[in-house]
Symmetry: C3
Subunit: 661 residues, 3 copies
Amino acid sequence: MTTRSITDRLGGLAFGGDYNPEQWDEPVWKEDDTLMRKARVNLVTVGVFSWALLEPEEGRYDFAWLDAHIERLHANGVAVDLATPTASPPPWFTLTHPDALPVTPDGTRLTHGSRDTYCLAAPAYRSAARRIASALAERYGHHPALALWHVHNEYATLCYCEYAAAAFREWLRARHGSLDALNEAWGTAFWSQRYTSWEQVLPPRATQWHKNPGQTLDFRRFWSDETIAAFREQRDAIRAHSDRPVTTNLMLPAYQNLDLWALARELDVVSSDHYPGSPGLDAAADVAFHADRVRSLAGGRPWLLMEQGTNTVYDGDRVLGKEPGEILRHTLGHIARGSEGALFFQWRQSRAGAETWHSAMVPHAGPDSRTFREVTQAGEAVARLGELAGSTVDASVAVLHDADAWWALSVDGLPSAGLGYHKELSRAHRALWDAGVTVDFAHPEHELNRYALVIAPALFLLSDAGAENLRRYVAGGGTLLVQHASGCVDDRMQARLGGYPAGPLRDALGIRVEEHRPLRADDRIALSDGSLGTVWSESLHTKGAETLAAYTHGMLAGSPALTRHRFGTGQGWYLSTRLDDADYGALVRRLLDEAGAGAEAPGLPGGVEAVTRHAPDGRRWQVLINHGADAVPLPEPVHDLLTDTTAHELPPGGCAVLRRP
Amino acid sequence: MTTRSITDRLGGLAFGGDYNPEQWDEPVWKEDDTLMRKARVNLVTVGVFSWALLEPEEGRYDFAWLDAHIERLHANGVAVDLATPTASPPPWFTLTHPDALPVTPDGTRLTHGSRDTYCLAAPAYRSAARRIASALAERYGHHPALALWHVHNEYATLCYCEYAAAAFREWLRARHGSLDALNEAWGTAFWSQRYTSWEQVLPPRATQWHKNPGQTLDFRRFWSDETIAAFREQRDAIRAHSDRPVTTNLMLPAYQNLDLWALARELDVVSSDHYPGSPGLDAAADVAFHADRVRSLAGGRPWLLMEQGTNTVYDGDRVLGKEPGEILRHTLGHIARGSEGALFFQWRQSRAGAETWHSAMVPHAGPDSRTFREVTQAGEAVARLGELAGSTVDASVAVLHDADAWWALSVDGLPSAGLGYHKELSRAHRALWDAGVTVDFAHPEHELNRYALVIAPALFLLSDAGAENLRRYVAGGGTLLVQHASGCVDDRMQARLGGYPAGPLRDALGIRVEEHRPLRADDRIALSDGSLGTVWSESLHTKGAETLAAYTHGMLAGSPALTRHRFGTGQGWYLSTRLDDADYGALVRRLLDEAGAGAEAPGLPGGVEAVTRHAPDGRRWQVLINHGADAVPLPEPVHDLLTDTTAHELPPGGCAVLRRP
Amino acid sequence: MTTRSITDRLGGLAFGGDYNPEQWDEPVWKEDDTLMRKARVNLVTVGVFSWALLEPEEGRYDFAWLDAHIERLHANGVAVDLATPTASPPPWFTLTHPDALPVTPDGTRLTHGSRDTYCLAAPAYRSAARRIASALAERYGHHPALALWHVHNEYATLCYCEYAAAAFREWLRARHGSLDALNEAWGTAFWSQRYTSWEQVLPPRATQWHKNPGQTLDFRRFWSDETIAAFREQRDAIRAHSDRPVTTNLMLPAYQNLDLWALARELDVVSSDHYPGSPGLDAAADVAFHADRVRSLAGGRPWLLMEQGTNTVYDGDRVLGKEPGEILRHTLGHIARGSEGALFFQWRQSRAGAETWHSAMVPHAGPDSRTFREVTQAGEAVARLGELAGSTVDASVAVLHDADAWWALSVDGLPSAGLGYHKELSRAHRALWDAGVTVDFAHPEHELNRYALVIAPALFLLSDAGAENLRRYVAGGGTLLVQHASGCVDDRMQARLGGYPAGPLRDALGIRVEEHRPLRADDRIALSDGSLGTVWSESLHTKGAETLAAYTHGMLAGSPALTRHRFGTGQGWYLSTRLDDADYGALVRRLLDEAGAGAEAPGLPGGVEAVTRHAPDGRRWQVLINHGADAVPLPEPVHDLLTDTTAHELPPGGCAVLRRP
């Protein structure tokens, strides 16, 4: 099953959001019907936080209220994305199953009063989740309004309780086979940590000093697998009663508790939530970063934007609003990169509860508001793009992404707090986005031959197979840029010996790193090509590579900083420091030139985004978004699907969607 | 009973401090007697931390040592403010009643070793507190030295234990009537928090994400009521045996765990402690802020400064000393605004214990010290002001203050960390103080007609009744300034719909706020009148109001920032951003002009304070305090009560108290 | 027993490091043998983290693997420093003795997964530690390879469990004799803390506000004594079976949980670990600071550098590498000041575990590396210095150091967060190091007559005996500089009355401090001699002293800031503020001049270090280290032991060791 089953049912792209009618009453529901029609809403997510209403006491279900809402929506032409409510067990669950509440590393048992107060490994929670998923599927599995199943919500919690410990041990047994192998993998010879029985093995709970990095990494992996197993149980329970596709809404980038590649493989439809962390152009770039990642998780197939905010930019300790036009621009930004529509959290802004101030399609102020008018405008735009359904996006450049590498940079005892995963990943994407290039993300062990250029930022952990895969990619003609502090440990968190990075990658890059030389927080280090590095440097020897830039001062003076190695029919580049943004951008543009992987629509000014979707039958559409404050003339007058008129220019903040020959 | 019963007994205003003779021995006591006479001490607080001595084991009392001290003080002409020692249960209490120790939100049970280690809701604590209060009252209730009862000390602790949970449930039952009503009030439909039995309801303990705002607010209210109930039990136990007035020393502004309006109503005499948080002129303004608040809590009646420090300014992580003359200036600052004297914590600086470095009237250095000399000077000054006893202060301007509004700004999930209650409250007062205006504080539901001007800062929560009251105030001729982010939620923490603020206030202000637009931490936003806003802005529509200043840039360009509405016979002003200090001061001065509420003594230079106390019989006194570094000539030579001489000027740092016709 | 027994066995100074062969396998062991010979390694520490291997289950020992390594090392000419592995109990220990795990002040029980997860006061831990120490001593006590016993590792943990509480009570009984005396000492009359039975007395666990300072101080002292007792048990168990010297590796300066003077007295050989916290010249100064402290702890006798890093500078949240040449310079820096060699942590960089990124003698990159080459260079240098064995260093200047004073500045409720112990101690040493002066550290109650100058920084706590000793020192002709905030409390944490500091010191200094006047974090205060003070000032009266500099502004204008008192035949100086670094350096140089305690090798440029070691038989050696970037000509050509050639200059970063007549 694919997103096609949804868009077929909707007769076009999806538009809508989370709908929680249980927060309101009859007069509001009536207004909802009217306003949804006005805003061209055709899909809403219901039931995400409805466990307490659906199962008011253990084993007793009340579906009547939900029946009524679904019938009302259906009558109003709105399809349903039905959620299992398992992200928020009701208060009665706490009292009935106190052993299923989550426990922090220091042993604090959390209680209800928020959401997500459960341990995913607790048997009582798991069976309760299966039961309610099954009951929902049985009742609504073939309802004509039903377009999609939405299991749970933003899987992300951790737990360190006894159930987690027991399940962790089982997982470790399966992974390592024996205690001896586990001891070897974790290096327990150090600090006298050798385990002599399985019951001695614990999650990484509160301890005296640094935790064991292998244990920390394996616990992350285990928990990701445990989470996916919990998802699978619900999915399978649903499939037993329903023929509609199943998804769960991923939450990136902030959450790092899951191997998203693995979870995405289990989904009929990949969907994801997106909330930018900075305003303005940064937010637009973050939309593209998110959308390219989710499409890549979906294996290049179309996907679905499950949540965005109409007026929500999380900027540290405050929540900024969006600028006029951003609702449409962000909506199109996601659709341009493969989303089959755009949903929001939530339809109507809560008047009470923990997210009272989270924006919505109908704000506290009501429909007489800029927000609702822009929502309506976006709904109308999406309604005109039905022909894009099923089409997707190609990219000739990939950035490598791996949960293991991320987790590896979260263990205790690293050489520098300046290392970080997400910031390097997003920066690599941003440099490519600034250059007008559409980007895929790929796992280091994926087949990479289709890409002209591959960038590997922050791959601190790189498996033997990954290193071998990258070597093969370069040998076969690829252009690879590996960035500082990559390939330092293997998939057990064990350091590479004899020089970093992992051997096959040393071959491909024609270098050997002898020493890491972290920089002080405010230090900069000069390169011979005039660029500046921060955070990190390395003592590096070329083994066949040429030096494109060398360090100019201190003990590294004359030592290679940026190298290129012609290897097989490709090129392996290595950058051993974190360049300033401008210098890094210039390097990426240079690589694009050399790899022949230019902008999708060359000649557009900065801040104007152009992405092409193409259908299996060869049809193509170009989405143009002007994030800038100046009008941008189009090379030739074109027919804009959004307005059904001929466009001569993109006004400031304006968008257009064109059919391409 | 009023402060009059105290000043009558003392024959004038009170001067003294906490006296803890149990820390010292006979020779020191003898010196204390001498030094107290020298410093004109006439009232000391005893017994605050004496539980362990008064009841060395449960149920066995030892009053002999206290008898002796009280007799000695009495013989020396010093009256006694007798404290119940319940803020500090002795170590034996921990071992006898471990269940009465306080528990933090994450379940940590605190133990003794400091002070205030009890749960106010624990039955064992409550009965122990009642018993010792009763025993003290029985023994000393009619002692001729006794002037005042001092229940407990700075009520402020919280607890999340099972007793707290049970009492919280009882309180919720009484407030909401039914679980359905509670579910409705807290919006438990969101995040699946619906309660189906009372036992599921808990204090806001450690949980996974944001806590429910309604639950948080109600827990604050409950705890305040629980605290007041604990106070009342002691007060009533005392009243059964004594005819002297009862107080408890409030602690503001730092502590926000109590509804001070409610607690103050229970007191025979309102008393409070004051420690400034910044030195110099800020400290002087903070004295006035504190004194105006406490007088307002006392319903405009005289009150008593129960604690100040001789040499203590809490400046973040260090404690600064006071400047020469500040002991007298702060003392007069409080008296000017209605205090019937000035007490200090404490008489003699501890040589050991947790407050060894807290300043005192007799410092470690002994009486041969600047501090003790200034204390003596202040004691002599207070002794000359006996005729002020019973007089009080009038104000024509009020600032609104409400514990609910404060608590509302402490819940999870607010739009901006830049919002804050205390800083806005004190800034409004400071602007008025800078303008030479004496200020009352009032609750939003108080009768406000007597005020020419009312300022409402940070009233994020405003009840229906409060909104209606403000509407009535303006309609009836008042001038009201409402500041940003006010009236956003009702008294259940539920957002106002259809536009902020609450409806009746929208009428009075002639505006409708559509959207909050929080600003980034360092951003400023320009207004058309040249002023600058920070922290916050709003998308605002006038509905009858005129725009006095509009935003000039960005999406709010041209949108009203400051408005005035002529409504009934009054004016409703609305300010939708946080102005810079200087701009805010100018706005406040403009409002004073328009409302006809000028400075009490126009023409005085900045930093010279003038406040008038008046007696019921028409006598009036003006207190003048020169906080500046320059001498200030007086308009005409006057008789200064402090020196019993004719004053021609106020020297730098000088003070005078004049009889006014 | 002394270090002589080690150097005699080695035939020279020690060179090597921690050797953990259990992390590796046979081929690596073979390479280790070769590389150790190459690097001139003659002593390695084994077994530090081997408990899990040595005792794989309780009471069953496996020494075979260790036998083999010791024989191999012995055959290779490498002696052994054999560690008891008690710093890291194995996982089985947690399951067998959960009551022996450490508990934090808030009651969290830590678990294994790191190291040091034990409570030193737990009977099960103590007996397990004794048993394994005894078993090791029995087996290896007379092995010819054995040069030294290394008990435990960096004793530093705390615990607040019930065992800790019980042992604390016993200790308090012994110290105070009676509960009355304890109540008096801790000032429990304040805050109603009077104890009426011993069982009420607890460690300073989590409580509501400030903790009792006397309790906090006594708990620190108790824990230090408890730690020393735990050490003594192991030492005595070893001595029953072995004739080799016993040490434990101290960890300074970061760890402050021990009275190092007391622990050092129990050691046959004093040894210590050193890791600098800043790079470059700061690191070199820190080497000298460390080495002077450890030699002083050793009573002026030679000592042993047990750990340093080849490439490790802990700079906040990142670990910087060392610069080329620093391995040798730091090695010689320690040897110059009395170390009988230089060991590193560790021989081979771990490929796994919590310290994977901690540098080592053989880095991940292997022997083909700058690091190993420099290690080899340092090993060769050390090998040439055998004749220095047994010689030591004299100093004519002392800085006072006392654990009580340090702990006193860590209690709750101090007047300023700007006070601090370690930063003042190291700054005093740095000023003297900059002046080319070799320094001893001394306890305030030590005999001080041999020193021309004594500096007392941050002696917030000073016992009666200490104050009397300092008075006697000055009276007898010494020059003493006492710095701000010294002598404020006695050894019970009770404030000095009548003026600070303690009486005998007031006599010696000819002053009386009336008031502390802490400064705001960014404030500076000007002195009449042009210098600037920060952090702190004092209102001070001279009582015989002359004023060398006075404050110039504010309430302290004209008040003495720096004073000198001619007392007996000596001089007592008092500095009442924290001078800027440059001003402080000038003051220290002035004091050196006046006291006649000049640089060891006058005329050397800044950053060139010269220290003299002398043997009991009168032989002398001068170690010269050029930390600067310029070559420094030597006054005359000299024979350099390091190169066995004639040296005419010290090149940049260069070193030389000369025989002196």
